[in-house]
């Protein structure tokens, strides 16, 4: 892998940038691999990367039916944080945040992690109590988080309407300073380039159409480019996890919904932190290009089509304008949707399955991007050792029969 740096940029400038190599190869699939990862999104690519890097397993194929990072990796609002309520979640997302903190250097690809702080607003006594509970728990878990008074909120976000006359006045907030945003596409591309450099075959435009089994064991996958064999198959296909599981005769406790997001036209930066309000149903940040990036709620029906409806977007924009009245004349530039797989407890599944050698990593709901490196890291561990890492042991499929749920409904930025 040719390293990226200001020096390589300068050197290539002399040759009019005509000598840059491919960021990753586009190989033909081999007949067999040690591990197949189905799904070339951030989580799948991270899994392949950590399989090679941490476990020395580089005879790996990542199969992607479309283009790398074209699913939710490229459709989210790029928020990263680890301020989760339950210990299990907090530790998993914190692992991920820590990996993010060194990721640009690790991958030699600038993912532009911007730890500008994530602010959660409280609008009622109930919100304040919940926020306090979360901050206390995080502090004892060793994760940074603090409560902000109304005055501190006002100083931090001058354009936020903190008037007591508001319908749901802001009463206070919590902040995780290490939280922030990153460039989502760069995360996928960076993992792809680094995994490729370690020998992983990334195969785009290769759709899995069946999961090959011999008795209770997985033996490979059938694809639009022929059968590919492997003793271990890891599936990381947000939006279609239940479809893929059905190919192996498994039924997952997952509902799939469209989730929309939108950006405004670029404006000069006025919002320097990520702001979330579950009471008013909005979350928003401003990108380094100047666009306001906003996440809407889910459309309530089930769907696999990456389309949403206008009223859902309008509702979110209304909430943003309620919090930031100066944005009324700023204009929405682009809106889109992805499909999110939601578990009953709004926590993911990172697990072995009843089919030997078949692993699933899914159900990240509305918040998978922030988990990308951590998810890949524990999934790689799970696949390599055929047993979960302690960090993802609580996220096994069995929890839906034992009842040991990790209910993070309250953790979503917008009440979904």
């Amino acid at each position: 892998m040719k390293r990226y740096s200001i020096f390589s940029l300068a050197r290539n400038a002399l040759s009019h940038h005509e000598d840059w190599p491919q960021a990753w190869r586009s190989p033909e699939p081999k007949p067999a691999y040690d591990v197949i990862i189905v799904g070339g999104g951030g989580h799948g690519l991270a899994t392949a990367y950590y399989l090679a890097k941490e476990h020395g397993i580089s005879n790996v194929a990542v199969l992607e039916k479309g283009w790398l990072g074209g699913g939710n990796t490229g459709r989210n609002t790029t928020v990263i944080r680890s301020n989760y309520l339950w210990d299990e979640s907090a530790h998993l997302y914190e692992k991920s945040l820590q990996l993010y903190e060194g990721l640009s250097q690790d991958l030699n690809f600038n993912i532009m992690l911007s730890q500008r702080g994530v602010v959660n607003l409280a609008h009622s006594e109930h919100d304040l109590r919940e926020l306090s509970r979360r901050v206390h728990a995080l502090r004892l878990n060793g994760i940074d988080s603090e409560v902000l008074s109304l005055d501190e909120v006002r100083r931090l976000i001058p354009i936020l309407d903190c008037s007591p006359a508001a319908r749901y006045p802001v009463l206070g907030a919590s902040v995780q300073w290490r939280g922030g945003i990153a460039r989502h596409d760069a995360v996928a591309w960076g993992f792809a380039r680094a995994a490729d450099a370690r020998g992983v075959d990334i195969i785009q435009n290769c759709e899995v159409t069946g999961i090959l089994r011999d008795g209770g064991r997985v033996t490979g996958v059938e694809t639009t480019r022929g059968a590919i064999r492997a003793p271990k198959v890891g599936c990381v296909v947000a939006g279609h996890a239940s479809v893929l599981a059905a190919m192996a005769g498994l039924s997952l406790p997952i509902e799939s919904h469209p989730l929309q997001a939108l950006v405004s036209e670029p404006i000069k930066p006025v919002l320097h932190t990520v702001v979330m309000s579950s009471a008013v149903h909005a979350y928003i940040s401003q990108s380094d290009k100047g666009e306001l990036v906003m996440g809407a709620g889910i459309d309530t029906w089930n769907s696999y089509a990456q389309r949403g409806s206008l009223p859902v977007v309008a509702h979110t924009v209304g909430a943003v304008c309620e919090l930031f009245p100066i944005f009324g004349r700023v204009r929405m530039m682009r809106s889109w949707a992805g499909i999110v797989d939601i578990c009953p407890d709004a926590s993911p599944i990172i697990s072995r399955t009843p089919v030997e050698g078949l692993y699933f990593n899914c159900g990240w709901g509305t918040g998978g991007f922030k988990a990308t490196p951590g998810s890949g890291w524990v999934f790689a561990y799970t696949i390599a050792r055929d047993e979960p890492h302690p960090l993802n042991a609580p996220f096994a499929l069995e929890r839906f029969s034992t009842g040991a749920l990790i209910d993070e409904h309250g953790a979503a930025a917008v009440a979904h």
Partner: protein, 1005 residues
């Protein structure tokens, strides 16, 4: 150029020369006319430099005449009405308009940001992914610099003073676009009797006819358009919406439209919304959205004065503005000759027509030659000159098989470079509708293919070129759409268009060579707004960003505010070439709404401020306000939290209220609790299924407390339910959960147990409820009722009596959430205030004291009564709350029964409800939410036992108390647990979660 030449031509155009409009751009005053756009008025005043580009801060001018404008973005208006990134080409000029250029410092002429151009070689597409990584963690530092360059215009500095409306509409046929095709379609559908909505983004319908100078039946085509509009205006079921952009096409033929009601004035008239958002659900849609001319990608094709050929024709024909004095046309097709000839006829000196084709032929070319114009075939513009305005071009002969054009070089002086690369149909909405696109080799364009929704495309957005074809397609689509809605429709008779000469084939050359390889000298811009060049696109392809979506994201092509209307096709064509694929194999990026940006205020409508969410008030609300209550939001309700008297803070007011409720009598407005009337022969069976306990045997007139669980076994809601009759119950819910509970119950009845005969009615707002609580509650009530026997034997705890209270028909429930003797008096809502007043009057001698939600919380916590959502969080079972007695396991089934049996819900070390007492003399409450640990000296990350759910100062105990959920709590009675707080570690003893009258003597009294 010898004779003086006024850019504003003396005649022609659709401007009103009698109405001059003054306006200001970048502080300088100018004048234009009614009917001008800001762009046409600037051009008429000779203003060429209007903007700087995003990345390199290159000088930019007006390149187009419409929604596709990539360059001419301005900051419009000022102060609270200031708007960023407005396309000057779409701003109707009004008197007093103020606009300014943006993204430049210190001025448009001298912009230091242009220093970026010096380093351009270091800043190829995606450069930021490759650098700013050293030293580790320094991105924050670099990012600060990047953010200084970010954005274009500025958000306003104050709240938007304008109002926006929403409108929902249905129609038979929605016609998008009022050019010739759209007008013909609307006419066909309207005449057939269909309900038609015709919308167009411009102030004046007519589309291309407005500026083309075309004729129909030998008369100016706009006469025909005027007649059509007059006829449509007379049809009762036809709505014509000018200044209205259909920006999004959603499922089920729902389209979002934004109507700019008042943007053509400095501010809206009193009472007028600025904009109106329409959500139109149409049975059939006709898209007549036109086409956008495609620029050629040649070196330094971005200088002010480089303009689309048809835009220049529009400026001349519609606004009587010559965009320059001496022009060169650079084209790959015949059609642009029309524009050149029009400009020539309008007095513009046409220095040359440079045609990429080796042997252009046909009537248009002949006409140009016949007028003595110089047609230079087989050559290309290889460079442009000038700084803030173009001053000339270099041309050279194209060589077969070479990437360079160096032969027969010539320089031509000019101040206007018209260019045309053909036309790109506007298929945005068609694609958004889910329709498939097909690639047309001859025109190098994607056209509508198979439709998925009830939609047709007509006219130039459908590939039609000649006016007569546009009219014909429009009329046919309108008639067919009306026909599909059940109307007998026939295409109307159409006027005759001038015969148009056959077009010779165009020459598709996606990147025009120059005297150096692309990227070595100058810049071939593809996306003008985001400064993406052909070299950038080739770099991306070289690096493996071969998917068109990767290309877009890596280079940012097409991601500007124009969404790549003039650049996307060229970008994907260049990608196709670079990767050796055909254009259809590369495909387009997804067309995403909105077509043009939509103000967030318009999307919001009126749902801000007080209308964000309705505030619900109880019938007694006014009394609380007069009493000076402090309110809190509980769900949508505003509830009195406490009633401070003069000089009291919350703590003291609370102490007074608590004292009264425990020692005299308190009065509380409990009207907000959800009330659901459950009626039907299967009502008791139904409640047996949704509650954990049994209802079949509950006596009439008796009350019972119950839990509803979710299917997973966790507590969902609680409340007291009363049997009013054999087949009739009144269910009460928590305040916040009233609607979710009703929805859940309806869901169960309609989807799961359809055989049950039960009807549910929300009666929350039908009744006001006044709670009297305290040792003197009975005495107060005695004074108010003659027909209810209040003796404990006749009216025991957990029962209901009917009668009259203060002369008002009432249901009186003897229930208690305070631990004191309590009555809840329920009357028709309209009598609520009268009842409250009567109670206050009768209770005066007993020291009756209103108490709010805060005191209510303390009173119930002293008793250990849980609040759903405070002690519970969706992970708590009745057993966890120490209330296993409420679960009747003998029932064959109830919601949550199976969930409760799962192994994890049976663990003995689950978090359980306990009380906490602090050390004697400790006056500081534990913070709610504080987490508890067993080891006083633990350091993070430390194992936690649970958390404090409720914590109050208990007036009755004169000490702080708390409730908590802790692991294995029932087995920890008497143990000490610790709450590590930021400033101290607090110790607490685990006790039973009931601090007051554990035997319940008082409430049974």
């Amino acid at each position: 150029m010898t004779a003086p030449f006024d850019l504003r031509r003396p005649e022609g155009g659709r401007i009103d020369r009698a109405r001059a409009m003054r306006f200001v751009f970048d502080g300088a005053g100018y004048s234009g006319y009614a009917g001008d756009t800001l762009a046409s008025a600037l051009l008429a005043n000779g203003v060429r430099l209007v903007a700087r580009s995003f990345k390199y801060h290159r000088p930019r001018g007006i390149a187009t005449a419409g929604a596709e404008e990539p360059n001419a973005l301005v900051q419009l208006r000022g102060n609270a009405r200031s708007e960023p990134n407005i396309r000057a080409t779409q701003v109707e000029l009004y008197d007093g308009l103020v606009a300014a250029s943006q993204n430049r410092w210190p001025s448009l002429e001298l912009d230091l940001g242009a220093l970026n151009s010096v380093f351009a070689k270091l800043l190829p597409a995606g450069f930021y992914y490759k650098t700013f990584m050293w030293p580790p963690g320094f991105w924050h530092f670099y990012e600060r610099l990047v953010r200084r360059m970010a954005g274009m215009g500025r958000a306003a500095d104050a709240s938007d003073p304008d109002r926006y409306d929403h409108r929902w509409a249905h129609c038979d046929v929605l016609v998008v676009g009022a050019g010739p095709s759209g007008l013909a379609a609307a006419l066909a559908a309207g005449r057939a009797g269909a309900r038609v909505i015709l919308c167009d983004e411009q102030a004046e319908p007519g589309g291309s006819l407005l500026g083309s100078g075309a004729t129909l039946d030998g008369a100016p085509a706009m006469q025909w358009a005027g007649a059509v509009l007059a006829e449509l205006g007379a049809l009762p079921d036809v709505t014509v919406l000018p200044r209205t952009t259909a920006f999004g096409y959603y499922d089920h033929n729902a389209l979002g439209l934004v109507e700019r009601v008042a943007d053509h004035a400095a501010e809206p008239l009193p009472g007028q919304p600025r904009q109106r958002l329409w959500l139109v659900r149409a049975r059939q849609v006709v898209l007549a959205t036109g086409a956008i001319e495609r620029p050629l990608v040649f070196r330094d094709n971005d200088r002010p004065g480089v303009m689309l050929a048809d835009a220049a024709r529009t400026y001349l024909g519609r606004y009587a503005v010559a965009c320059g004095r001496r022009a060169v046309l650079f084209t790959n097709n015949d059609h642009a000759y029309d524009a050149a000839l029009a400009l020539h006829a309008g007095g513009v000196d046409l220095a040359a027509i440079v045609d990429l084709r080796a042997e252009p032929g046909g009537l248009r070319v002949d006409a140009a030659r016949a007028r003595g114009l110089r047609v230079i075939a087989g050559r290309a513009v290889t460079a442009t000159h000038g700084r803030s305005s173009v001053t000339g071009v270099d041309i050279a002969r194209l060589q077969e098989g070479s990437d360079l054009a160096v032969l027969d070089r010539e320089s031509i002086a000019c101040d206007l470079v018209l260019n045309s690369g053909g036309w790109t149909p506007s298929v945005h909405l068609f694609s958004q509708s889910g329709g498939r696109l097909r690639y047309d080799e001859a025109t190098g364009a994607f056209l509508p293919g198979r439709a998925v929704q009830a939609v047709r495309a007509a006219g130039s957005c459908n590939g039609a070129v000649a006016l007569k074809d546009c009219l014909k397609q429009g009329a046919a689509a309108g008639a067919a759409a009306a026909g599909d809605c059940g109307f007998a429709a026939a295409p109307p008779a159409l006027p005759a268009a001038e015969p148009e000469p056959e077009s010779a084939p165009m020459r598709l050359l996606w990147v025009v060579p120059s005297d150096a390889p692309v990227g070595h000298k100058g810049k071939h811009f593809v996306d003008l707004q985001n400064d993406v060049t052909a070299a950038d696109l080739r770099l991306a392809a070289r690096e493996g960003y071969r998917s068109v979506e990767h290309l877009k994201r890596y280079t940012t092509t097409g991601m500007g505010t124009d969404q790549g209307k003039t650049s996307n096709l060229a970008a994907l064509a260049i990608l196709a070439e670079a990767t050796g694929r055909e254009i259809p194999a590369v495909g387009t990026t997804t067309f995403r709404p909105p077509y043009t940006p939509v103000a967030m205020g318009a999307l919001t409508g009126r749902t801000v401020g007080a209308l964000l969410d309705p505030a619900r008030w109880t019938p007694i609300h006014r009394w609380h306000v007069r009493a000076g209550a402090v309110f809190e939001n509980v769900g949508q309700w505003q509830r009195a939290r406490y009633y401070p008297q003069a000089g009291e803070d919350m703590h003291r007011a609370l102490a007074r209220e608590l004292h009264a409720a425990r020692n005299a009598v308190g009065i509380f407005d409990a009207s907000t609790l959800g009330k659901i009337d459950v009626k039907g022969p299967d009502a008791a069976r139904f409640l047996d299924l949704v509650y954990t306990n049994s209802w079949s045997k509950l006596g009439i007139g008796r009350c019972r407390y119950g839990f509803m669980l979710r299917e997973d076994g966790y507590v969902f809601d609680d409340g007291v339910t009363t049997r009013l009759a054999d087949d009739h119950f009144l269910v009460s819910t928590t305040t916040g959960n009233a609607a979710p509970v009703l929805s859940w119950l309806e869901d169960l009845l309609q989807m799961e147990w359809t055989e049950l005969k039960v009807r549910l009615t929300s009666v929350t707002e039908e009744y006001a409820v006044v709670t009297l609580s305290g040792p003197f509650a009975r005495r107060v009530l005695t004074e108010l009722t003659a027909d209810i026997d209040l003796e404990p034997k006749a009216f025991p705890f957990m029962s209901l009596s009917h009668g009259t209270v203060a002369g008002i028909a009432a249901r009186v429930f003897r229930v208690s959430f305070t631990g004191e003797l309590s009555y809840e008096v329920q009357v028709k809502a309209s009598y609520g205030l009268a009842l409250w007043n009567a109670c206050m009057e009768a209770g005066e001698k007993y020291g009756i004291t209103p108490y709010g939600t805060e005191a209510m919380h303390v009173l119930r916590a002293e008793k250990g009564y849980v609040i759903v959502g405070q002690e519970t969080d969706g992970t708590v079972t009745p057993y966890d709350l120490g209330m296993g007695w409420i679960v009747n396991d003998n029932k064959p089934d109830f919601i949550g029964k199976r969930g409760l049996r799962r192994a994890d819900l049976q663990r003995p070390d689950r978090k359980q409800l306990v009380g906490l007492r602090l050390e004697a003399g400790e006056r500081r409450k534990l913070p709610e939410g504080a987490h508890l640990v067993a080891d006083r000296d633990a350091v993070p990350p430390m194992p936690m036992l649970g958390h404090v759910t409720s914590s109050y100062w208990s007036v009755a105990l004169d000490a702080p108390i708390a409730l908590a959920m802790i692991k294995g709590g029932r087995a920890r009675m008497g143990e000490t647990v610790y709450a590590p707080l930021p400033d101290r570690v607090a110790a607490a003893t685990v006790v039973e979660p009931c601090f007051w009258d554990p035997e319940g003597k008082r409430l049974h009294g």
